[in-house]
C-alpha cells in the first residue's frame, strides 16, 4: 500500500495505541477472571499474505476434459458413462456405477457449480418390474431445480445410457403409477407453479414411454390424495424433484433431448418426436430509456408521519445542483440548513430521505453554500431564506413554500447508480466557467456582464421556463399597464395573476398596501422586454411564442440558462437512531439469576428470594457452565478457581454423564453440554463482589442480571463487572461488550470549530496543517480527515467517557491494574481508539475518535464506512430463487443484474450499489436453529470486489467463493454460528441443503484466489439474513446503523463463549479486528467518491444532454483514478464548502412528536404549505398504504388471533377449553386488542372528511368502520376526534 510519510506516522500512532491497549488487555485477561486468559479478538493480518493454492483433480475430471476435446459437452456427459460401466474409477456395484455416472455427467452439464449433481439426485436404485426384470429408478430431490431443464432431462438420458450398457431392463409402469404421476405433477404445480405444466396426454406419454423410472424424494408438505400407498412409490408426499424433471425437463426440453438421442443413436426415445410441439416461451417486458420521466416509486408505501417534500419532478421541488461538499457523496446529499428548518425540522442531520433519483435514498446533511427555500410569508412577501437562524425565526410566518431549494448531489452518485446525468439548475460555478468574471455586485453589474456576452448570472435568472410564454406576456402587460417605479422599486397592483406569476418566477417582492413592491426590478424589466419607462420594447413584435426561455432571451437580448434545471422528488425515510445498545430487558451483567430476580432480573430481588418461607434468602438454583480448574482440578462454575487457577469448560453427555471432548457423546450419541445446576448463595456472592470492589451495598440501587445463560459454554461473567456497569449507567450486550449505535455519515474534511476540540489537541493528534498546507492556527481552517478517524455524537462521547470510566474502575478495582484512560472531561477523549462494527458482520475496524458532532450521527471517512462491509459472493455463485410461480437457479450475477431495478438504484452509507429487486422473489433461508424457511429477497446489491476472495470446497464437492469477511454459517453443536469467511477453517462443519432439508457438510478445501471479476454480488434476505448459495447456507450482506465500542472494552470484556446459542445470537460480534485500512481493499464503491475541487464546463454541458456518467469518467477526479498512489488516501478536495456539518435541526420532528396523530398532523400541515406537494394525494396515499392496511390487517387478525399465557408465555392458536394455560394454569390473554385494531380509525375518518379523498377510498374507510363497529359493538357515546388528541 502506497502512502506518504505523514500517513506512515498516522499508522504508527494507531498501531502503538492498539499495542498499548493490547498490553493492558493481556495483563487483565491473564488474571484468569474471564472465560479465556487472552483477549479474544484476533487482529486480522493481510489477506494477500496468506495466499496458498490447493486444488487437485480427480480422474473423472481429467477424463471428462479429454472427452470434451472430442465432442460437445452433452455428448461427453453421456459418453463418460462408458468409463463408469468399465469401472475405470473403482466403482464396485451396479448402483454405484449408475449413481456415479449420473452425478458425474450432471456435474459436467451444470459446470460443476450448482448443487444439482450432489444434492439434486437423492439416490439411484433398482426396482423390479412386474415381469421380474430390474429397472432403474433415479430419486430426484429439490435441488435438481438448480440444474436447469436441459441438464435435468439429460440426466435421465444418461441414466438410460448407462442402464442399457449394463443390460438393465426399462421401466414398465403400472397404470396406477401413471395416474399417480399425473395427479402429483398437477398438485405440485398448484403448490409451486411449474414453468410448464404438460397436458395430461403429454404426461401420460412421457411416463409410459420413459425407460427410466423418474422417482423423487418428498419435498413438499402436501400429500397426494388420490393414488396413495402404491407399492412401488415409497411416499405419499409430493415429490418436487420428480415433477421438475418430468415437466420442466423432459416435457419442456424434449427437442434438446431428442437431438442428443439422435447423436448418440440411442433407442427407445422415438416417442419424443410425438411429444415435441407444446412448449411455448413467454416474452419479456422491459421499458427502458425513460430515465427522465417522473418516477413516483419513492412515494409508494408512504407511511403516516413521514412527510413528502416534493412530488416527482414537480415545480417547486428540489432543484438539482451538482457537486460534493466535504460531508456529502457516498450516499449523502446536501440540503441547505434553512431548507431543513423550513421543512418542519423533519429532516435532521443524517435523516434518510427517499429520493426520486439518482439512487433510492440519501442521508441528508447540511450544506450552506447552496440555495435555501423560497417562501411566501403570511404578509405576502416572497423571499429566499439562505440562513438557518432566519429560517427558524420566520418558520411560523411561512404561508407557502414556493420552492424548497437546491439539493447537492455529486457526480459519483450518478456514476454509482448508473443514472444518466440530468440538467442541473444554473449555478455560479458553472457560470464562472463560461464567461462569468466574478460574482456580480448588483443588478447593474449582472446586466453588464450579460451584455458583455456572458450568460446572465444565475442569481438574476428567474425560473422563466416554469411559466408559459402567455404568462410572460400577461406579466409584461400588467407591468406596462399599471406598474410604476417609485423610491427605487417597481410597484404594481396586487392582482392574483401577477402575484402568482411573480411567485412562480421566484421574483422576490413584498406587499405594501395593495401593491406588490419589487426591489430589484432591472433584470426583470429587461427580461420582460420592457423599458425603464415600462413600455414594451419593439422586440415584442416578433417574439416567439413557443418557448419561454427563448422568448425571454429574445426580449432581453441576454443569453440565459435554465435556473429550474431538473427537479428531484423526495420524502422522509427512516429516522435514524443514535443510542446506546440495550437488550430487552437490558442487563448490567451476564450473571444468571433465573426467575428469582423477578421480571426485572434484579439481584436485589434475587437476594431476598426465598424458595421456601423458612429458609434464608438469596439461595437460588441456577444453570451455569461446568468448569474445572486447570491447577487443582476443582469443579466450579467460576472462571477463576478459589485456588487462583483458571478454569476451563467441561463437556459431558447429558444422558450418561460421561465427560467428552467431542460434540456428541461417543457412547450414546447425545449432544454434549457444558452445564451444571448449582445452588448459589447470591446474597453472599453479591456481598463478596461489593467487598472486593470496596463498595457499599447502597452504592448500587439496581443491578440487573440475565434470566439464564444461553451460550454453549455458559461461562458466568463476574458480578463485579455488572456492579461497575450499573454504577456507570451502562448496559451489557450479549457478547460482554457495551456498544453505541449510530448512523454513519461520510466526511472527508472538518473544521476545528465544528468538532468541539481545541487546536492544540488536534495538533497533538497530528492535524498540524490545513488542506492548503497552512499551519493550523484558526478554528475555521479546513482539515482533511484521516481515514480511520471518526467524529462521534456528543451523546456518544458522554457514553464513551462512562465506558472509559468503567474500564478504568474495572482495571483498578477488579484486575488490580493501573487505570488506562483517565478521562476526566470530554477533551480527554479525542485520540482514544474505538472499534467500529457494522451490524450482522463480524469484523471490527479500528478507529480513533478525534472530535464530536452536535448532530446525533457518527461522521467517518468514506473508506472507514466502506471497510466495514463487503461480504459478498462471486458472480458465478448459483442461488435459488422463487418468483411466486417457479423456482429458478441462476448465477447470482445474472440474478442481480437482471433484477436490479435500474430505474431506482441506491447507494448506501457503506457504498453498496443496491436496489429493490424488480419483482418479488423468495429464496430459501435458514434460521439459527437450522429450520429452512422461505424468505423474501428485499434487495439486490453489487459491490466492487476486493483483490482476493476465498474459495471453499466441501466434502460433498460444493464450491463457494466469497469475500474474506463474508458471513458464513458454521454448525456449533446444534445451532448455527455466524463467523466471517476468513475464520472458517478446514474441518468446520457447515450447513448445506439436501432436498429441502439442511444437513451438515464439512469444509475440505480453503483457497485464497484472486478475484477474476471486479464485482461481487449479494442479496438481502428478510429476517434471517441467510440464503443458499451453491447449495451452502451462508449469511448475506446486511446494512443498517453501525456501532462503536471502546477498544479496551472489546479487548477485555468480549468473549466468544458468551455468544448465545439461540436465534440471531451470533450476529454482531467483533470476531476479528482490522487495524489498517487499505483503500484498495475496502469496498470499492468508495472509489467513486469524487475528490476534485470543481467539475469542468464539459461536464455541465454534457449533463444538459443527459449524458451517461460513465462517458465523463475522465473529466472528474475520483478516488479510483488515484489508486495505487499516495494520493489515494490524501489530498482530497470538494466542490462546495459548508460552514458547519451540524447545522440545521439535530433531532427530527418525527422523533420528537409522540403519537402518530401528531406526526400525521404535522406531515399534512407541511404538505399543504409546499407547492411541490399535493396534500390530498399524500393523505390518500397514507390512508391506502398505511392506515387502511393496518386497520384491515388488525381487524382480520383479531378474528383469528392467537393467545398467550401471561405466566409461561406459551402460545395458543385458540382459547383452550379450560380457559387458562393448559401447561401452567396461567391466565391466557389476547394478542390483538380492540385498541390496536381501532388505532387509526378516528384519524382515518378525519382524513376522509378533511381532504379530497377519492370516493372509493372513503367508502373503504366507511366499510371498515362499520365492520369494526359490528365486531366490537357501538362504542360509548363520546367519539373522540382528531382534535381531542392534540
Amino acid at each position: 500500500m502506497e502512502f506518504s510519510p505523514a500517513l506512515g506516522v498516522y499508522f504508527n500512532r494507531l498501531d502503538s495505541g492498539l499495542q498499548s491497549a493490547m498490553a493492558v488487555a493481556r495483563a487483565a485477561r491473564s488474571r484468569g477472571l474471564d472465560p479465556a486468559v487472552e483477549p479474544e479478538i484476533p487482529i486480522a493480518s493481510d489477506l494477500a499474505d496468506r495466499v496458498e493454492a490447493l486444488l487437485g483433480y480427480t480422474g473423472v475430471a481429467a477424463r471428462l476434459r479429454e472427452l470434451e476435446q472430442q465432442m460437445s459437452r452433452e455428448e461427453a456427459a453421456l459418453k463418460i458413462g462408458d468409463d463408469f460401466v468399465k469401472r475405470t474409477f473403482g466403482e464396485t456395484t451396479t448402483e454405484e456405477i449408475l449413481d456415479h455416472a449420473i452425478r458425474a455427467s450432471m456435474a459436467l452439464l451444470t459446470e460443476g457449480v450448482v448443487a444439482a449433481p450432489t444434492e439434486g439426485i437423492g439416490k439411484v436404485a433398482l426396482g423390479k418390474n412386474d415381469d421380474g426384470t430390474e429397472y432403474l429408478k433415479i430419486y430426484y430431490a429439490g435441488p435438481i431445480r438448480s440444474a436447469g431443464g436441459t441438464a435435468q432431462a439429460l440426466s435421465v438420458l444418461v441414466g438410460d445410457y448407462v442402464r442399457q450398457a449394463l443390460g438393465i431392463n426399462r421401466y414398465i409402469p403400472r397404470p396406477e403409477e401413471v395416474e399417480r404421476y399425473i395427479e402429483e405433477i398437477r398438485q405440485y404445480n398448484n403448490i409451486m407453479s411449474l414453468q410448464y405444466l404438460p397436458s395430461e396426454k403429454e404426461l401420460r406419454m412421457i411416463i409410459t414411454n420413459c425407460p427410466v423410472c423418474i422417482d423423487g424424494e418428498p419435498t413438499e408438505q402436501q400429500e397426494v390424495s388420490g393414488y396413495r400407498n402404491l407399492e412401488r412409490v415409497e411416499t405419499n408426499t409430493v415429490r418436487g424433484g420428480m415433477a421438475l424433471v418430468v415437466a420442466e425437463g423432459l416435457a419442456l426440453k424434449a427437442p434438446k433431448v431428442l437431438k442428443n438421442v439422435r447423436k448418440m443413436k440411442m433407442e427407445g426415445w422415438d416417442w419424443l418426436e410425438e411429444l415435441i410441439g407444446g412448449a411455448t416461451t413467454s416474452s419479456s417486458d422491459d421499458d427502458k430509456g425513460a430515465a427522465v420521466k417522473p418516477k413516483d416509486k419513492y412515494l409508494r408505501d408512504l407511511i403516516g408521519g413521514r412527510p413528502v417534500f416534493s412530488y416527482p419532478m414537480r415545480k417547486g421541488g428540489f432543484r438539482l445542483r451538482f457537486g460534493r461538499s466535504r460531508n456529502t457523496g457516498f450516499a449523502a446529499a446536501g440540503l441547505h440548513p434553512a431548507t431543513l428548518h423550513i421543512l418542519g425540522d423533519f429532516l435532521a442531520v443524517g435523516t434518510q430521505m427517499k429520493i426520486e433519483r439518482p439512487g433510492k435514498a440519501a442521508g441528508i446533511v447540511p450544506v450552506d453554500s447552496i440555495q435555501g427555500p423560497t417562501v411566501r410569508l403570511k404578509s405576502g412577501e416572497v423571499l429566499r431564506i439562505d440562513d438557518a437562524a432566519k429560517a427558524r425565526s420566520l418558520a411560523s410566518q411561512v404561508e407557502d413554500i414556493i420552492d424548497i431549494g437546491e439539493i447537492l448531489i455529486s457526480y459519483g452518485e450518478f456514476l454509482e447508480n448508473n443514472h444518466p446525468l440530468m440538467p442541473p439548475c444554473y449555478c455560479e460555478e458553472w457560470w464562472l466557467q463560461e464567461g462569468g468574471v466574478r460574482h456580480p455586485e448588483n443588478e447593474m453589474e449582472a446586466i453588464e456582464f450579460a451584455l458583455d456576452g456572458a450568460y446572465l448570472h444565475p442569481d438574476y435568472t428567474y425560473l422563466w421556463d416554469d411559466i408559459t410564454p402567455a404568462n410572460i406576456a400577461t406579466l409584461a402587460d400588467r407591468v406596462a399597464e399599471s406598474g410604476v417605479i417609485e423610491d427605487g422599486a417597481l410597484k404594481l397592483p396586487n392582482t392574483p395573476d401577477a402575484k402568482a406569476i411573480l411567485e412562480e418566477l421566484l421574483v422576490f417582492h413584498r406587499i405594501e398596501g395593495d401593491r406588490i413592491v419589487i426591489g430589484e426590478y432591472l433584470v426583470l424589466l429587461t427580461c420582460l422586454g420592457l423599458t425603464l419607462q415600462l413600455r414594451k420594447r419593439e422586440t415584442w413584435t416578433d417574439a416567439p411564442t413557443d418557448d419561454s426561455l427563448g422568448l425571454v432571451m429574445h426580449l432581453s437580448g441576454f443569453r440565459l440558462r435554465s435556473r429550474a434545471g431538473t427537479r428531484i422528488g423526495g420524502r422522509m425515510g427512516r429516522p435514524g437512531k443514535s443510542k446506546a445498545r440495550e437488550m430487552k430487558p437490558p442487563p448490567h451483567s451476564l450473571f444468571p439469576i433465573g426467575d428469582a430476580g423477578g421480571s426485572r432480573r434484579s439481584f436485589q430481588e434475587a437476594i431476598s428470594y426465598k424458595h421456601r418461607s423458612n429458609t434464608d434468602g438469596g439461595q437460588i438454583e441456577i444453570e451455569v457452565g461446568d468448569r474445572r480448574c486447570t491447577a487443582c482440578g476443582t469443579r466450579t462454575y467460576k472462571n477463576l478457581c478459589d485456588c487462583g487457577g483458571h478454569t476451563v469448560p467441561v463437556f459431558r453427555c447429558p444422558r450418561c454423564e460421561r465427560e467428552t471432548k467431542e460434540l456428541l457423546c461417543p457412547a450414546c450419541g447425545a449432544a454434549a453440554v457444558c452445564l451444571q445446576k448449582v445452588t448459589v448463595n447470591v446474597k453472599a456472592e453479591y456481598a463478596a463482589a461489593l467487598a472486593r470492589l470496596g463498595m457499599r451495598e447502597s452504592a448500587v440501587s439496581l443491578l440487573k442480571g440475565v434470566k439464564g445463560l444461553i451460550s454453549r459454554d455458559r461461562p458466568v461473567e463476574p458480578i463485579e463487572k455488572g456492579i461497575l456497569r450499573a454504577t456507570n449507567e451502562l448496559y451489557v450486550f450479549k457478547d460482554g461488550t457495551s456498544r453505541y449505535d449510530m448512523i454513519d455519515l461520510p466526511l472527508t474534511h472538518f473544521r476545528p470549530d465544528e468538532v468541539g476540540v481545541s487546536i492544540e489537541k488536534l495538533a497533538s493528534l497530528g492535524y498540524t496543517h490545513d488542506i492548503y498546507g497552512a499551519e493550523l492556527t484558526e478554528r475555521s481552517q479546513v482539515l482533511e480527515l484521516r481515514h480511520q478517524d471518526i467524529l462521534v455524537s456528543e451523546d456518544c462521547a458522554a457514553w464513551l467517557i462512562r465506558v472509559a470510566k468503567f474500564i478504568d474502575e474495572l482495571l483498578e478495582k477488579f484486575y488490580g491494574l493501573e487505570p488506562f484512560y483517565r478521562i476526566t472531561d470530554r477533551n480527554d477523549l479525542p485520540g482514544h481508539l474505538v472499534m467500529g462494527l457494522a451490524p450482522h458482520t463480524s469484523a471490527g475496524v479500528l478507529a480513533r475518535v478525534i472530535g464530536f458532532s452536535k448532530a446525533g450521527v457518527g461522521y467517518g471517512h468514506p473508506f472507514f464506512h466502506a471497510a466495514k462491509r463487503r461480504n459478498c459472493f462471486a458472480g458465478d455463485t448459483e442461488i435459488e430463487v422463487f418468483d411466486g410461480r417457479a423456482w429458478a437457479t441462476v448465477p447470482i450475477r445474472q440474478f442481480v443484474v437482471e433484477n436490479f431495478d435500474i430505474s431506482n438504484p441506491g447507494l448506501d452509507h457503506q457504498g453498496t450499489f443496491y436496489s429493490d429487486p424488480a419483482r418479488t422473489f423468495f429464496t430459501r433461508s435458514i434460521d439459527p436453529q437450522g429450520t429452512v424457511r422461505m424468505k423474501k429477497i428485499t434487495s439486490v446489491s453489487v459491490h466492487r470486489a476486493p483483490a482476493h476472495l476465498i474459495r471453499f470446497e466441501t466434502k460433498r464437492g460444493r464450491l463457494l467463493t466469497v469475500t474474506s469477511d463474508h458471513t458464513m454459517l458454521v454448525w456449533d453443536t446444534d445451532y448455527l454460528r455466524r463467523i466471517s469467511a476468513q475464520e472458517v477453517n478446514i474441518g468446520d462443519r457447515i450447513p448445506v441443503i439436501e432436498g429441502t432439508m439442511p444437513i451438515c457438510d464439512e469444509i475440505t478445501g480453503r483457497e485464497i484466489v484472486r478475484a477474476l471479476e471486479d464485482r461481487v454480488y449479494c442479496l438481502t434476505v428478510a429476517d434471517t439474513h441467510t440464503l443458499v448459495a451453491n447449495g451452502i447456507f451462508t449469511g448475506q450482506c446486511d446494512g443498517d446503523e453501525d456501532c462503536v465500542m471502546l477498544l479496551l472494552d472489546g479487548l477485555i470484556n468480549f468473549s466468544r463463549s458468551y455468544l448465545p446459542e439461540t436465534r440471531g445470537g451470533t450476529m454482531d460480534a467483533p470476531l476479528v479486528l482490522t487495524t489498517r485500512l487499505d483503500p484498495a481493499e475496502v469496498d470499492k464503491e468508495s472509489h467513486n467518491v469524487d475528490v476534485g475541487d470543481h467539475y469542468p464546463l464539459e461536464f455541465y454541458l454534457a449533463a444538459l444532454n443527459y449524458t451517461h456518467p460513465k462517458d465523463l469518467d475522465k473529466l472528474i477526479d475520483r478516488v479510483e483514478r488515484r489508486l495505487g498512489t499516495p494520493a489515494q488516501i490524501e489530498g482530497f478536495l470538494f466542490t462546495h464548502p459548508t460552514s458547519d456539518i451540524s447545522a440545521g435541526p439535530l433531532v427530527s420532528t418525527y422523533t420528537i412528536l409522540g403519537t402518530m396523530l401528531e406526526k400525521l398532523e404535522a406531515e399534512l400541515t407541511l404538505a399543504k404549505k409546499i407547492r411541490a406537494v399535493d396534500a390530498d394525494d399524500v393523505a390518500e396515499r397514507v390512508l391506502n398504504t398505511h392506515f387502511i392496511r393496518d386497520l384491515m390487517g388488525n381487524l382480520n387478525a383479531f378474528s383469528k388471533q392467537k393467545l398467550r399465557c401471561t405466566k409461561c408465555n406459551s402460545k395458543y392458536r385458540r382459547m383452550p377449553l379450560a380457559g387458562k394455560c393448559t401447561k401452567c394454569k396461567g391466565n391466557v390473554i389476547a394478542t390483538v386488542h380492540e385498541g390496536s385494531v381501532k388505532k387509526y380509525l378516528a384519524v382515518s375518518r378525519e382524513i376522509c372528511e378533511t381532504y379530497a379523498i377519492s370516493e372509493y377510498t372513503k367508502q373503504r374507510v366507511r366499510v371498515i368502520d362499520m365492520s369494526i363497529e359490528s365486531t366490537f359493538g357501538t362504542p360509548a357515546e363520546q367519539q373522540l376526534g382528531l382534535a381531542d388528541f392534540m
Binding site: N190, E223, S225, G226, I1188, M1192, L1195, N1196, F1198, S1199, K1200, Q1201, K1202, L1203, R1213, R1214, M1215, P1216, L1217, A1218, G1219, T1222, I1229, A1230, E1234, E1255, Y1256, Q1259, R1260, R1262, V1263, I1264, M1266, S1267, I1268, S1270, T1271, F1272, G1273
Partner: protein, 467 residues
C-alpha cells in the same frame, strides 16, 4: 371390537350387501349379537341391509311443525342477533359452547370420561378400554406415518395416536380437523402419556334421521355469489334467470352471500370493478331484485364480499345499503336457519370451505358436495379457528349445525355441487360471475349461472343452467 371388514363379511356370508351406516352403527354399539338380530329381521327379498332393517331403529322424522308456522320464518340468524365481541374472554364461552353442544351429541351414543381422570390416574385405566370426548387442538403425522392428535376437554389434554395400520379408523383420523369435537375409544399407554385410539366418533347426523318435508306444494330457488359490480358479472345470464323466474311457480329465492363484489376485498380490486361505489353496487342489485316477481319471497345473506364484517357470524346487511331493496326481501345473517313451509334451510356462505379443502386429504374445489358432507359429519360449518375463516368468538357458537336442517345451502367456491347425506340435502350453488383472473391463476373453473330448484315436498333438487 369388530372390524368393519368382519361385519361386512358376516353379511356377505348371507349374500347380503350392507350400507356403511349400518356397519358404523354396529361398531358403535359394539354388540356382535346385533348382526344376528339384524339378519333375522331382514326381509327375504332385500339385497342391501339398510338402516331401516335394524330392529328397534326407526327413522324418525325430525321435529314438530305447527300449522300456525308462517311460510317463511327465520329460526336462527335474524338481523341483529350476531352481536359483537365483548372481549377475548368470550372465546372461553365460545369454544365451551361448541364443546358442550357437540360432545352432547356424541355422549348420547357412548359413555365417556373426563380426560383429567385418565391423565391423573393412568394406572387405574391401563389396559382398559375407555372413551374420551375432546376438541382437537393439534393434528400431525408422526415420522412413522401415524396420526397424532392432541385433544382437550375442559379438564385436560391428551395425545391420541391413530395407528396407520388400523385402516378402519385411520382414514377417518386423516380427516381430523383442528377444533372439531371427537369421541375416541381406545386404551391408554402404559405410561399414561398416550392414548391409542381404536375407534373414532363424530357428532354426525343420527342414523335414524329422516328429514321433514313440506305437506303442501312449494318450491325454493337457491343461488349465491352474484357479485354485482364486478367486470365479470354475467348480466345476460342473470336476465335469463330473471325471465325464467317470472313464469316459475317457485315461491322462495335464497341467496347465500356475495350479493355484490364489494370494495377493497383484495388488492387492486378497483381495476376489476365496473361499479366502484359500494352503495351503487347494492342499488344495482336492488334494481335487479325489483325486476323479479313480487310474490317471490327473497332471503339475502351476506358473504365475504359484502359490506358487513368478515368475522362469522356475519350480521345481516344494514338498512343503509338495502334501502332500495323491494319489500319482499328478507335480510338474514350468515350463517342462518330459515324455515320454508317447515323445511329448514341452513344458509352459510362457505368461507370455511377454503380451509377445509386445504386440510382434508382429497378434498377439491371441484367437489364442494364432499365438503358439505364433512361439515355435516362434524356438525360444524367452520371447524378450524385462526385460518382463513375469521370468527367472532362470541358467547355462542353459531357455526355448530344445530338444529339439524333439511337443506344445507352454501356458496363461496363458485362451483355447483349437490350431495345428500343421511337425509340432509347439501347444495353448493354456483355463481353469477365468470372466471376471474384470480380463479384462472388458481385453476378454478367455476360453474356460473346455475340455480338450484328444490321441491319442498320431496326435497328433490333440480339444477337449471342459464349460461
Amino acid at each position: 371390537m369388530l372390524a368393519p371388514r368382519e361385519i361386512v363379511q358376516r353379511f356377505l356370508d348371507t349374500k347380503l350387501q350392507v350400507h356403511p351406516d349400518v356397519v358404523s352403527y354396529i361398531r358403535e354399539q359394539d354388540d356382535p349379537a346385533l348382526i344376528d338380530r339384524i339378519l333375522e329381521s331382514v326381509p327375504g327379498d332385500a339385497l342391501v341391509v339398510s338402516v331401516n332393517h335394524i330392529p328397534g331403529l326407526k327413522k324418525e322424522r325430525d321435529g314438530t311443525r305447527f300449522f300456525a308456522d308462517p311460510e317463511l320464518e327465520i329460526i336462527v340468524g335474524s338481523p341483529g342477533t350476531a352481536g359483537s365481541v365483548a372481549g377475548y374472554e368470550d372465546a372461553i364461552h365460545y369454544f365451551r359452547d361448541r364443546y358442550n353442544k357437540l360432545s352432547a351429541m356424541i355422549r348420547s351414543r357412548t359413555t365417556s370420561m373426563p380426560i383429567e381422570a385418565l391423565t391423573t390416574s393412568p394406572h387405574r385405566y391401563r389396559d382398559q378400554e375407555c372413551t374420551v370426548i375432546g376438541m382437537a387442538v393439534e393434528v400431525r403425522t408422526t415420522a412413522k406415518g401415524h396420526r397424532l392428535v392432541e385433544i382437550e376437554d375442559p379438564t385436560g389434554t391428551i395425545l391420541v395416536l391413530f395407528n396407520k395400520s388400523r385402516d378402519d379408523t385411520f382414514a377417518d383420523a386423516e380427516r381430523i380437523l383442528p377444533d372439531e369435537v371427537l369421541g375416541v375409544k381406545g386404551k391408554l399407554s402404559s405410561d399414561g402419556g398416550l392414548f391409542f385410539a381404536e375407534q373414532l366418533f363424530r357428532p354426525d347426523i343420527p342414523i335414524k334421521h329422516a328429514p321433514y318435508t313440506s305437506d303442501r306444494p312449494g318450491k325454493a330457488v337457491l343461488i349465491s355469489d352474484v357479485h354485482v359490480g364486478s367486470d365479470t358479472f354475467l348480466e345476460a345470464a342473470w336476465n335469463r334467470f330473471a325471465d325464467w323466474l317470472q313464469d316459475t311457480d317457485a315461491s322462495y329465492l335464497l341467496v347465500a352471500g356475495d350479493l355484490v363484489d364489494g370494495i377493497g376485498i383484495y388488492p387492486g380490486q378497483e381495476h376489476e370493478l365496473t361499479i366502484k361505489n359500494i352503495y351503487e353496487q347494492y342499488d344495482a342489485f336492488a334494481g335487479m331484485l325489483r325486476d323479479l316477481p313480487s310474490r317471490l319471497k327473497i332471503v339475502l345473506a351476506p358473504g365475504n364480499h359484502d359490506v358487513v364484517r368478515m368475522a362469522e357470524p356475519q350480521p345481516a346487511l344494514p338498512p343503509e345499503f338495502t334501502g332500495n331493496f323491494p319489500a319482499n326481501c328478507q335480510m338474514v345473517e350468515n350463517p342462518c336457519v330459515v324455515s320454508l313451509q317447515g323445511v329448514r334451510v341452513m344458509m352459510y356462505h362457505g368461507r370455511s370451505i377454503d380451509d377445509m379443502i386445504g386440510l382434508i386429504p382429497g378434498a377439491s374445489y371441484e367437489r364442494p358436495g364432499e365438503i358439505m358432507e364433512e361439515m355435516l359429519k362434524r356438525r360444524l360449518l367452520a371447524s378450524t379457528y385462526g385460518m382463513r375463516t375469521p370468527i367472532a368468538a362470541a358467547k355462542m357458537d353459531r357455526l355448530v349445525i344445530d338444529p339439524l336442517p333439511e337443506i344445507l345451502h352454501t356458496g363461496h367456491v363458485h362451483i355447483c355441487g349437490i350431495t345428500k347425506y343421511r337425509g340432509v340435502l347439501g347444495v353448493n350453488t354456483g355463481t353469477w360471475q365468470a372466471q376471474t383472473a384470480f380463479q384462472k391463476q388458481m385453476n378454478i373453473n367455476p360453474t356460473p349461472a346455475r340455480a338450484v330448484v328444490i321441491d319442498l315436498q320431496t326435497l328433490q333438487p333440480e339444477v337449471l343452467d342459464f349460461s
